[in-house]
């Protein structure tokens, strides 16, 4: 598999880089999303990623479209420029990225004048669920009822991780699992 080429650009040049890619022939907007890199050692923030394709390629016998990823790092709290001026179809993707990661897009315009508003989440949903800092409500109210291996029980019976785990192993809670400050569960 050929890895898709990725162009890392500074935040100020986000739309300029997208426009440049578009004028090179990458005229098909595939998707736009973000990756939570707030725990990265240097310049923490969110990676804003956009996948573009060249719709005039792909006529050859093996038929693959040329594609490119454009990526920038948005520090927490800052906003990015909107791509809706280049592709109207970016509106849904930016609304989704906004509700899931809490990233604002300046100059967002989908023709309705309603601005960035939730797209997929149910009405009245609080928070940005795809951020690593988002605590899962189910975990906060109740211990996880599952088990990682068949035969394990969550009650801490024979063969449960509590008995088999090496004592020195550092426990890293996965993102979303509430830590001890949430109280015992």
């Amino acid at each position: 598999m050929i890895e898709t080429p990725c162009r890392d650009v500074p935040l100020q040049e986000w739309t300029a880089a997208l426009a440049a890619a578009r004028s090179e022939g990458f005229d098909f907007f595939d998707w736009l999303t973000a990756v939570d890199e707030t725990d990265a050692p240097e310049s923490p923030g969110f990676d804003l990623v956009c996948h573009l394709m060249n719709s005039s390629t792909g006529q050859s016998s093996h038929g693959a479209l040329a594609r490119v990823l454009v990526r920038t790092r948005v520090p927490n709290g800052q906003s990015a420029a909107s791509a809706t001026g280049l592709w109207s179809g970016a509106a849904w993707h930016e609304r989704e990225t906004h509700e899931m990661f809490g990233i604002d897009f300046e100059g967002f315009d989908d023709g309705t004048g309603l601005g960035l508003r939730p797209l997929l989440l149910p009405n009245g949903f609080d928070g940005t669920p795809l951020r690593k800092s988002f605590v899962l409500a189910a975990r906060a109210s109740k211990a996880w009822p599952g088990a990682k291996e068949p035969g394990e029980s969550s009650e801490g019976g024979e063969g449960s991780p509590a008995h088999t785990e090496k004592p020195g192993r550092r426990k890293i809670a996965p993102p979303g699992v509430p830590d001890s400050t949430w109280g015992p569960r």
Binding site: L121, P122, F125, P129, L136, W144, G146
Partner: protein
């Protein structure tokens, strides 16, 4: 226009019916279950498999598929119930005539299943509607659904369907009223760009008997 229709139910005559008549009523009821498939995810495929020739639940008297919830006796919720879908499930359940039965098919609709952790998945459809039979598995095999149907039929056979019993089952065990999980339908955003005008469709309003709320 507002149409006020009572919820169809087995009349009070059933209370006084002699035992043999009750047996006949229950027998008729258990072998003519018009099923309404609430297929939401991968489990729906297994449900469909159970309705096809190899497993064929029609031989158990389960008739696929009711044209809509108003013609159905049995709702099979198969798949992942999300918080966004919850109002629709509750609304369609409320539209089914009584007596009505629900089979929860698969780990997801039983408890949230592999998505128990998720921010958007309901932790079991029984938080919204009363469930008669749970079928475990991820996904359960079609045979498991047949077993679940047989369980349900045993339940129906031993049922005394008086108006009081129906009240106890459907009104007493309500975890949520329809209004609590019902949100208004999404309105079209106000256009600032010129848009193609579509012909106006008017829909009759239907009143939900139990909450007095209006479903539109």
């Amino acid at each position: 226009m507002r149409v006020e229709l009572p919820m169809p139910r087995v009349g009070p005559g059933n209370d006084d019916a002699p035992r043999p008549i009750k047996v006949v009523l229950n027998w008729g009821r258990r072998y003519s279950l018009w099923v309404f498939n609430f297929g939401l995810a991968c489990c729906a495929i297994e449900f469909i498999a159970a309705s096809m020739a190899r497993h064929d639940f029609i031989r158990l008297g389960v008739i696929p598929f009711a044209p809509g919830p108003r013609q159905a006796d049995l709702m099979v919720v198969s798949g992942t119930v999300t918080d966004k879908m919850a109002p629709a499930i509750r609304r369609l359940y409320d539209q089914m005539p009584e007596p009505k039965y629900v089979i929860s098919f698969g780990a997801c609709s039983n408890s949230g299943g592999p998505y128990w952790d998720s921010y958007c998945v309901t932790k079991g459809v029984d938080q919204l509607i009363p469930v008669d039979v749970y079928v475990p598995g991820c996904p359960p095999r079609p045979e498991a659904l047949l077993q679940g149907i047989i369980r349900l039929q045993e339940k129906i056979a031993s049922e005394t369907l008086s108006t009081k019993a129906i009240r106890a089952k459907y009104a007493g065990s309500r975890r949520a009223a329809a209004g609590e999980v019902t949100r208004p339908l999404v309105a079209r955003p106000h256009p600032t760009r010129p848009q193609v005008t579509r012909p106006q469709v008017t829909r009759p309003h239907v009143t939900d008997r139990d909450t007095g709320g209006e479903l539109s």
